[in-house]
Each structure stands twice: as structure tokens, then as C-alpha cells.
């Protein structure tokens, strides 16, 4: 189960990532997008597993023909490269435009008493919302798998500090649970991914894009145990400097799956789970 999943790391060595951030301070993102156009075909060629997973997604889940599916895999990888660059550009201080649907859902929960949960997923670029949807009143605690390199983590952290956010790394010793529990007790926001199993034995089967898929039970059990409301957030790329944020209230895993599906119907190429999500095992 575990080995077929995404390693959770951004590709590239430490010095590459550091120089990318340095270059993004002076060179416009669009130049890097141009480089991607050339790099993506090689990536598709050499990263067969992710190629196949995304190809099957377009073929079987969206019913595209062979040529259309192939072209969309290219487009999907290209967009993924773009959001990775945007993420580094945000570390470098670049500004983006955001349009937000249902912002009142976030504002109401922030204004009210008590903490709440925000669910992330690997569609669009959730992390870009860190530049935008933040609150002075309630810090956001982002639960993250501890796979990223030191540069990504450190830059994430400095960006996060600026926006009243904290990282809670998931550890084997379950120490993150104490941090999550205390954060919710303090009335803060806990944000966590809800489309990765990460070896968790407890899953919920949900109808998703016309076929059953497994979702982790953890985030929804957490909401039940702590009796806190849950918001799903999708941050979708609409232009080179433009993102659209969608917010919705979620009661259970199936509803979350439906919300991801609705988002993917609008932005089919921004599905960034590069493994067989509809694995039958």
C-alpha cells in the first residue's frame, strides 16, 4: 500500500531548490514555465508510473480518447510544474491574485468560538492559500508529512510565520496528535490532507469520479471526536498569476469526495495524485 504512493517530496536537491528561489526573486515565473514546456516531455518519459496513473485517470475517470488523454497528461504535468514554481515564487515573495468563493464560511468560523478543521487535497495548489486565507485571530496549524527537504520546510516555515501559521509534522510516535488536540482546544485551525492514506489502516470507501476509492478516515474521525466543523478548500490555478479558492462545509468523507469531483469537473487537469488512486486493494 505504502510503496505505491507519492513519496511526499518535491523533486530536486537542496542547492537546486535554494537557487530556484533566488532566481525567482529576479526572473519572472513565465520564463520558468517556458523551461517546463521542454522539461515535461522528459519527465513523462522517465517517470512512467505517474504518467500511467494520470493517463488512466483521463481515460477511465473522464472518458477521454487516447490522443486527448495523452495531451492532457502533458498539460497536467505542465500545470503541476507551474504550481511547484508558483510555490517557490511565493517563498521568494511574488504576489498572486486570488478570487474566493464562499469566503463567508471561513470568516464565520474564524469569528466564532472554537477551532475547526480545514481539509486539503492534491488538486490545484492548496499551499498557495497560505498567502491569502489567514487569520490574525486563529493561527492555522498545518499537519504535514515530514518528507520535504530542509529548504522547502524552512521556507515554508518562514512564509508561515508571516501568516500566523505553524507546521505540525506527522511523526511515527503520534506526537502530532497531542499537538492537533491542543491546537483545537485552543480554538485554532487545523489543516490536514484528506486524500492520502499514508499507511493508515482505517479508510472509508467513497464513490469518486464514477468508481469506488479509499479515503482516510482520520480527518473525519478527528472532527467527530473533537466535535469541530470541517471546511474543504480547493485552490485552483486559473492564470499565470491568478488562483481561485473554493470553500465548502463538509460533513463526511463521501461529501468531501463529491466536492473534489465537482472541482475536477471544472479543472480536470489539476489532479495531482500521481499514483493509482482507484487502487482496488
Amino acid at each position: 500500500m505504502v510503496q505505491q504512493q507519492w513519496s511526499g517530496k518535491t523533486d530536486g536537491t537542496t542547492w537546486m531548490q535554494r537557487s530556484l528561489i533566488a532566481m525567482l526573486r529576479i526572473i519572472p515565473c513565465e520564463v520558468f514555465y517556458g523551461v517546463l514546456l521542454v522539461v515535461v516531455p522528459f519527465y513523462m518519459l522517465f517517470s512512467r508510473k505517474s504518467y500511467c496513473a494520470i493517463y488512466r485517470y483521463f481515460r477511465h475517470r473522464l472518458g477521454y480518447g487516447r490522443v486527448r488523454a495523452f495531451l492532457n497528461v502533458y498539460w497536467n504535468h505542465f500545470l503541476f510544474g507551474q504550481v511547484v514554481i508558483d510555490r517557490f515564487a511565493a517563498f521568494a515573495g511574488k504576489q498572486y491574485k486570488f478570487e474566493i468563493d464562499n469566503l463567508h464560511l471561513f470568516d464565520e468560523l474564524v469569528a466564532g468560538e472554537g477551532g475547526f478543521i480545514m481539509l486539503s487535497s492534491h488538486v490545484g495548489c492548496y499551499e498557495m492559500a497560505g498567502c491569502m486565507l489567514t487569520s490574525k485571530k486563529k493561527p492555522i496549524n498545518a499537519v504535514a508529512y515530514d518528507g520535504e527537504t530542509a529548504v522547502v520546510s524552512r521556507n515554508r516555515e518562514s512564509l508561515m510565520l508571516r501568516h500566523n501559521m505553524k507546521l505540525i509534522p506527522v511523526k511515527r510516535d503520534m506526537s502530532h496528535l497531542f499537538a492537533v488536540n491542543s491546537a483545537l482546544d485552543r480554538g485554532e485551525i487545523v489543516s490536514l490532507p484528506a486524500d492520502r492514506l499514508n499507511g493508515s489502516p482505517k479508510t472509508v470507501r467513497c464513490m469518486f469520479m464514477g468508481e469506488e476509492a479509499q479515503f482516510p478516515m482520520g480527518p473525519f474521525s478527528l472532527a467527530r471526536v473533537k466535535k469541530v466543523p470541517v471546511l474543504a478548500m480547493f485552490v485552483m490555478k486559473e492564470g499565470s498569476r491568478r488562483y481561485h479558492i473554493y470553500l465548502s462545509r463538509v460533513e463526511n468523507a463521501q461529501q468531501f469526495a463529491c466536492d473534489i469531483e465537482a472541482t475536477l469537473r471544472k479543472y480536470p487537469a489539476q489532479w495531482f495524485n500521481f499514483y493509482d488512486f482507484w487502487n482496488k486493494e
Binding site: 503520534m174 506526537s175 496528535l177 497531542f178 488536540n181 491542543s182 482546544d185 489502516p201 478527528l222 471526536v225
Partner: protein
């Protein structure tokens, strides 16, 4: 203390919905996680909330928490000395 152990076993079965386990199946010295009862992270969270609600014990230090959930007996001993209700 000796009364607390069977009570804890019953409560844990109920809180964690361990329907196919009876209090007698649980060894009070066996580990709750991993090979023992085999609880997972959400169960751990349920136990954290359980300790708080029932005994007023707030567990915020992960190292301490790990020690406390070692076994039912260790839990009972901790509750005995730290409970505020």
C-alpha cells in the same frame, strides 16, 4: 487502583468501539498500541479526549503521553495520581 483497572478496560472498549473484545481479553500489562491491543492514531486521540473528559487530565506533552498509554496499568496509576475530577 485495582478497581480502576477493570473499569478502565470497560470504558476503553466502549469509547473505542472494540466490539469483539471483552474486558477479560485485555491484559492490563500489555501495550495498547502496536502488537498489544493494536490501537491506531485515532484511538490515541480518543484516549486523549477520554482522559480529559473523565478525569480532567490534559495531556499536551507527547513524550509523557506515550508513557501513559503504555498499558492499562500505567494509565490507571497515572489517573490515580493526577486526576482532578
Amino acid at each position: 487502583m485495582e478497581d480502576l483497572i477493570p473499569y478502565l478496560k470497560k470504558e476503553i472498549i466502549e469509547v473505542l468501539n472494540l466490539n469483539d473484545i471483552t474486558p477479560d481479553d485485555i491484559d492490563e500489562d500489555a501495550s495498547l498500541f502496536n502488537e498489544g491491543l493494536g490501537l491506531d492514531s485515532i484511538d490515541a486521540l480518543e484516549l486523549i479526549v477520554f482522559m480529559e473528559k473523565n478525569y480532567g487530565i490534559k495531556l499536551s506533552n507527547p513524550n509523557e503521553g506515550k508513557e501513559i498509554f503504555k498499558s492499562i496499568r500505567v494509565m490507571a496509576e497515572y489517573i490515580q495520581t493526577h486526576r482532578t475530577k
